[in-house]
C-alpha cells in the first residue's frame, strides 16, 4: 500500500490532478472519494471527466440530489454521491449494483456507507482542507494494488513536495 499526498492551491490545480489521474483509469474501476463538504470532491471529478474527454455539453455537477450522474467519455463515467442517504438500507434501493457491473468508471462521493460493499478497490482518494488558505486543499491518493506507480510519479512531478 503506497500513499501520496499533494497540495493544490486552486480549483484548477485540483482539476489538473484529476486530469492526470484519468488516463490511468480503466473500465471497472471504482474509486471512493472521501472528504468533508467543500473539500473538492466534485471539483476533482470535473478534472477526471475532462481527462476522459467528456464533452463540455455534459456539465459535471454535484450529484447530491440526483445520486448518480452519467457522463459519456472515453469510458462511461458514473458519478455517484451518497450524501443524502441514511443507511445501507437505502443503498439497496439504488442502482449501484447495476452500475458497478457496467463497464464504466465509478467515482463515489460520500462513500462511507458503502465502503465495505464496494468491489475490491485499488485506489482511494481523500481530500481535506485546512484553515490557512481558502484555496488550499490536500489530496491523498492511496494505491492498494501497486497499479498507480506511474501516476504517482507524474503526480509528484506536477506537484512537487511542499
Amino acid at each position: 500500500m503506497v500513499s501520496l499526498e499533494i497540495e493544490t492551491d486552486s480549483p484548477d490545480s485540483t482539476r489538473h490532478a484529476g486530469w492526470l489521474l484519468a488516463k490511468h483509469l480503466a473500465p471497472g474501476d471504482c474509486i471512493p472519494l472521501s472528504g468533508e463538504m467543500g473539500s473538492g470532491k466534485t471539483c476533482l471529478v470535473q478534472g477526471i471527466a475532462a481527462g476522459l474527454g467528456v464533452p463540455s455539453r455534459y456539465p459535471v455537477t454535484s450529484p447530491s440530489f440526483t445520486i448518480v450522474n452519467r457522463y459519456p467519455g472515453k469510458h462511461m463515467i458514473y458519478h455517484v454521491d451518497l450524501y443524502r442517504l441514511n443507511s445501507k438500507h437505502d443503498i439497496e434501493d439504488l442502482e449501484l449494483p447495476e452500475i458497478l457491473s457496467e463497464d464504466g468508471i465509478v467515482l463515489i462521493e460520500w462513500p462511507e456507507l458503502t465502503i465495505d460493499s464496494l468491489p475490491e478497490t485499488s485506489l482511494y482518494v481523500h481530500l481535506s482542507w485546512d484553515m490557512i488558505s481558502e484555496f488550499r486543499r490536500r489530496i491523498r491518493f492511496t494505491d492498494t494494488a501497486s497499479r498507480f506507480s506511474v501516476f504517482f510519479q507524474e503526480l509528484s512531478h506536477a506537484f512537487p513536495r511542499y
Partner: protein, 332 residues
C-alpha cells in the same frame, strides 16, 4: 377535459387531476413518511420502492376526491424526464398501465417544462414568450420559451441553488430543509455585514455556480466564530438572490423578452420573490411566480401542461422511455 398527472421524478410521489389546464380537481403529494425531518438534509425517500407503495393509492385518492371515473379522463400524463431514473420509471410504468387499462392516451411531460407551466396558475397566459428560472434542490436552469420552442440557456456548473441552501444550513447546524430555515433566520439578520462572493456574476453567460458559497461560509465561520448566524444567513441569502435575479433579468434583457417566471422549490423563498418583484418593476418586466405549493414538485403542473400538449396535438406512444437528463440542448 380532465387530465390525470403523475410525477415521481425525485423524492415525492405526486398525483393530480386538472381540468382544462387550470382547474385543480384533486392533487396529492405523498412525501417522506409525512415530513420526517431527520437532521442533516437526508431524504430517505430516494427509494423507488416508496413510490411503488404510494402511487396507486394516490391515484385512487385523486379519482375519489374529484369524483372522477377513469372513463371521464381525456389522457394520462406523466413526467418522464429529467430526474432519478429509478424513480421516473415507477411513475412511467404506472402511467402506462393506467393508460392501457383505462384505454386513454399517454402524454409524456418534461419536468422542467411542467415547472415553468406552474406560472400559468398565477395568471401568465400559456404561450407567452418568457424566461423561466427553475431553481430547486436538484435544478438550477434558465429556460427560454419563445414561439413553440423551449431552450436551455443557462444552468449550474456545480451545485444547485437549493442544494447550496441545504448544505449551508448543514454547516450552520440549522437542520433540514435549508431553504425555509435560512429564509426565516435571514429576516432578523443584516445582509450588509458580510459580503459573500457572487459567483459567475461577472461572466457574460447565463450559467450559475454555487459550490463556492458553501466554502465561503465555512471559512467565514472559522475566521469569525462569533459572527451572528442571522447575519451569515442574511448575507448568504443576499448572494444567492442577487445572482439568481441578476442573471435571470439580464437573460430577459439580452433576448428582449419582457416576461419572467420563477419556479422550483427555491421560488418559495421570500427574499427571492420580493427581489424579483422589485427589480423587474424597475426594468418594466412582468414576473409570474406560482403559489408556493406549485413551486415544489407536484403533479398539478404535469396534468395542467398535459392539456396544452393534448390540444396542441401531442401525445406519446407506449414505448416512451424515462431519461435522467433534460433532453434540452443548451443554446446561447
Amino acid at each position: 377535459m380532465l387530465f390525470l398527472g403523475i410525477e415521481t421524478s425525485c423524492d415525492d410521489t405526486a398525483v393530480a387531476i386538472v381540468e382544462s389546464g387550470h382547474i385543480v380537481r384533486a392533487g396529492i403529494v405523498a412525501n417522506q413518511d409525512d415530513y420526517h425531518r431527520r437532521y442533516g438534509g437526508v431524504v430517505p425517500e430516494i427509494a423507488a420502492r416508496k413510490h411503488i407503495e404510494h402511487i396507486l393509492p394516490a391515484v385512487q385518492y385523486c379519482l375519489n376526491s374529484a369524483s372522477v371515473k377513469p372513463e371521464d379522463l381525456t389522457a394520462v400524463a406523466v413526467t418522464h424526464r429529467p430526474g432519478l431514473i429509478g424513480s421516473l420509471i415507477v411513475g412511467l410504468t404506472a402511467a402506462k398501465c393506467l393508460s392501457l387499462s383505462f384505454d386513454k392516451p399517454l402524454i409524456g411531460i418534461n419536468h422542467l417544462e411542467a415547472h415553468a407551466y406552474a406560472a400559468c396558475f398565477s395568471g401568465m397566459e400559456y404561450g407567452t414568450g418568457n424566461i423561466t428560472l427553475v431553481a430547486s434542490g436538484g435544478h438550477t436552469s434558465l429556460l427560454m420559451f419563445s414561439g413553440k420552442t423551449m431552450t436551455l440557456i443557462g444552468r449550474t456548473a456545480d451545485d444547485a441553488a437549493g442544494e447550496a441552501y441545504d448544505k449551508v444550513a448543514k454547516l450552520m447546524k440549522l437542520g433540514y430543509p435549508g431553504g425555509p430555515v435560512i429564509d426565516r433566520l435571514a429576516r432578523t439578520g443584516d445582509p450588509g455585514k458580510i459580503r459573500f462572493p457572487r459567483p459567475m456574476l461577472d461572466r457574460d453567460n447565463f450559467d450559475f455556480s454555487f459550490s463556492g458559497l458553501k466554502t465561503a461560509v465555512l471559512y467565514h465561520m472559522h475566521k469569525y466564530p462569533h459572527s451572528a448566524p442571522e447575519d451569515i444567513a442574511a448575507a448568504f441569502q443576499d448572494a444567492v438572490t442577487d445572482v439568481l435575479v441578476t442573471k435571470t433579468l439580464s437573460a430577459a434583457g439580452f433576448h428582449r423578452i419582457d416576461t419572467v417566471c420563477i419556479a422550483g422549490g427555491v421560488a418559495s423563498n421570500s427574499e427571492l420573490r420580493a427581489r424579483f418583484n422589485s427589480e423587474s418593476r424597475k426594468r418594466n418586466i412582468r414576473v409570474f411566480i406560482p403559489p408556493p405549493q406549485l413551486c415544489t414538485d407536484n403533479a398539478v403542473m404535469v396534468a395542467g401542461l398535459a392539456y396544452r400538449k393534448w390540444t396542441g396535438g401531442c401525445h406519446s406512444s407506449l414505448d416512451l422511455s424515462a431519461s435522467a437528463d433534460a433532453g434540452l440542448i443548451q443554446t446561447f
